[in-house]
Symmetry: C2
Amino acid sequence: MGALPLDNSHLPLSAFIDPAGHNRFEVEALLHQTVALLVEEMTRASARSLLPDPMGAQQLSQWAQQWAKIPEQSVAADVLLDVVRSQLHHSMNAAHPGYIGHMDSIPTTMSIIADLLVAALNNNMLSVEMSPVFSRLEPLVMQQLAAHFGLDLADRDVMAGGVMVSGGSLANLQALTVARNMAFDALATGIVKLSQQPVFFVSEVAHTSMQKAAMVMGLGAQAAIALRTNTNAQVDIHDLKVKLSQAEQSGQKPFAIVATAGTTVTGSIDPLAEMADVAQANNLWFHVDAAYGGALIFSPAHRHLLAGIDRADSVTFNPQKWLYITKTCATLLFKNVDVLQRHFRISAPYMGDDSQWSNLGELTLQGTRHPDILKLWLSLQHLGQAGYADIITHNIALTAQFTEAVRSRPYLQLASEPQTNLVCFRLAPKQIAAEAWDHLNEQLQQYLLAAKSPVFLSLPTYRHQRWLKAVLLNPYSCTTTIEHLFEQLDAFVQEHVS
Amino acid sequence: MGALPLDNSHLPLSAFIDPAGHNRFEVEALLHQTVALLVEEMTRASARSLLPDPMGAQQLSQWAQQWAKIPEQSVAADVLLDVVRSQLHHSMNAAHPGYIGHMDSIPTTMSIIADLLVAALNNNMLSVEMSPVFSRLEPLVMQQLAAHFGLDLADRDVMAGGVMVSGGSLANLQALTVARNMAFDALATGIVKLSQQPVFFVSEVAHTSMQKAAMVMGLGAQAAIALRTNTNAQVDIHDLKVKLSQAEQSGQKPFAIVATAGTTVTGSIDPLAEMADVAQANNLWFHVDAAYGGALIFSPAHRHLLAGIDRADSVTFNPQKWLYITKTCATLLFKNVDVLQRHFRISAPYMGDDSQWSNLGELTLQGTRHPDILKLWLSLQHLGQAGYADIITHNIALTAQFTEAVRSRPYLQLASEPQTNLVCFRLAPKQIAAEAWDHLNEQLQQYLLAAKSPVFLSLPTYRHQRWLKAVLLNPYSCTTTIEHLFEQLDAFVQEHVS
């Protein structure tokens, strides 16, 4: 047991990495064995299935039932690594170039390396004392990111910056909480005192985290007033103005407008500048949920798609999506980061103070937090802006090829004009009654999944119908991936539509 | 560049792990190099300093300023790994057996292994489709944990279970949100409609996440009504009854009582059964924040300390603390997990359904979430309940030794009677004026940090004074650690108190 000073120990030798190195041989072997497993599996991800098949899913449920019990005695590491290998085989295989159904893809190598190192180090983003390096790096990198979005341009008297949070839903919740606290002076005394119902406006196709935020914040999910969208799934400015006026007339109190840059189903970008105009004219907080589309800021050729984002009061941007950082990695950026001090901070008396650096646990919804900054920082350093620009250009070019392939087939229909790297489309053949299209597209999805060159498209519900969604995100997806997909799709049409 | 089909690529060869294995040699070398670095550093953690010294902190700030910039071109992996090595040297060194100042310690080896694997796999706890293995494993393990706390005993008609969230603050926020939504039917329509201010009751020394939750939920931070505590930092039941009655008389509407099992500063456990009685008599939700103390459930010898926890409606328990899982790893357990479906769930129309398994993104504050279940599950398997019981017994025995050493010295004072494995104490020599004690203890903290056998004690503020806090958590801390600490403390007293 080396130096572990426990009596009668039931602990395995490699339970911890002995800080004096007495079990170095064992833990080193175990870690290298894990790397070997990882490399073996991830370097042949292209040869594995994309999803567990239905039979696999059934077995999986049985397996989970069997393994969920917490054992009395230690199970050997070798046994566990064998189980983990079979877990990997039954997991979402997003590294496969044919897995293009969600905003989930292959992670950067530096993300993996960073997650390994921060795990061993186990620092805590709660306070500067508990993460002296990462608590300094995070606000500085957030400042840089805020500047990339132009948030530092509007007002030189305030400091743009932000915080990292564990996922975009938390970023949206925190942004709206700050906006509400500011509008209604609600930090200490809440909103029950109000005579008017606070509301905010957001696209009908925005992320559900908006309703979730309204619910958690005590506004009620209905306080997220849904705005109609045009045929390209973008907020209709006229509807925004109408709904705003209706809310005021009915005695509600608007406090924020939310735009989306990269919607979940079609990747659409709302008219940011026009929405900023309305927000400004009505003195409302302007939040942009650029969780997905924000990455375009790194592409000189495509950042114009985000025009107007520099006018946001707050921006959600998730490097866990189009920057390929492992989950979770999300940021919340502010034009004036000082609002966190004034309209969000709950101070913790038991934490030490540092004159120059903030204890980030006081400025976020979370207290203890994983150091997500290392994987973001390492990946930005390793790929560089130019590397990310290359990938984004590649993704957008593939999207154009994909869109062209849809357009050239009369039996296919686009849900909306692709604006980023998502193509949402469906099989809509005139020969078959429209009522049968939902089922037909479900069949097509399964057909493509089982095809010789398998492709996974997701099957979202959009405007009450089922569609097929492609997200051209994986850097290893290529023109051949798309050619095969459409060959197989055509074969399906041959078989099923006559 | 192998198979990466990008033109004019600025990407480094090892940016991603090629799913067809074309860069296998490079990424494999990089990962093994990272493991070598990790093992080298962590197996000599005992020889490194506990915290960066003040000079180091200054250099660190300059370093962070220099490195925060996002580079245009790729920086080589070797250069980055060198930088990371120096980051490790300046981080919190919680693996050191003398680092006993916070509830942060050395992680299990299986946590590190799991974090490495889930990073590469990059699955998403948002939906069953995106994490087929982990979305099944999580609810089953949560069911097991809930049963460990006895939450399944009260009512056989409901199903005990829970969800994992990224930190205890989110667990407390979600528990209180569910309680509020249930009490006031607030999910859809919020709380502005209410004629009475909702309030809940919580110890004056509870975690600040309680005020934070009240603030975010729109109740206002003041809605977390602070209860007086006895000399052992436990909620005074009489004060609870008085405050409850006062709140009702002043027109407020109580909806929950929160107990703490393991307070931040002294590790105290509130009188759970008595608080459950009051909650039950008044038809209030009973939440137990056992983020820290919950681990005692794994020790047959000590789980009696949690008597009454089986009567909770919800329990926060963080394996990231006393189960040594890497951060973050937190759970929220319910007596009736179905409340999440009825009083929290916001459904996402774009996600697929599975008849048997829930999309966990709909049942938590977060949408996309890191698969924390693998590290928890692997660690429970690898250490076993018996392994954890050994460690907890060891920790509690050391705490007794530590407490005895404090008691035997007339110039030392205990903040409260240790109930778990925290000792909060201070130097309070009669020869020196009480006004000078705060400063004296700050000096002592620094002295111990710089001593021959360095020890890090934190310096919390408790009842308006500075104290020294020891958390006997590290399994490598031993009787010698404590003997050295007190020898050095005595030497300090010799020098400074005469």
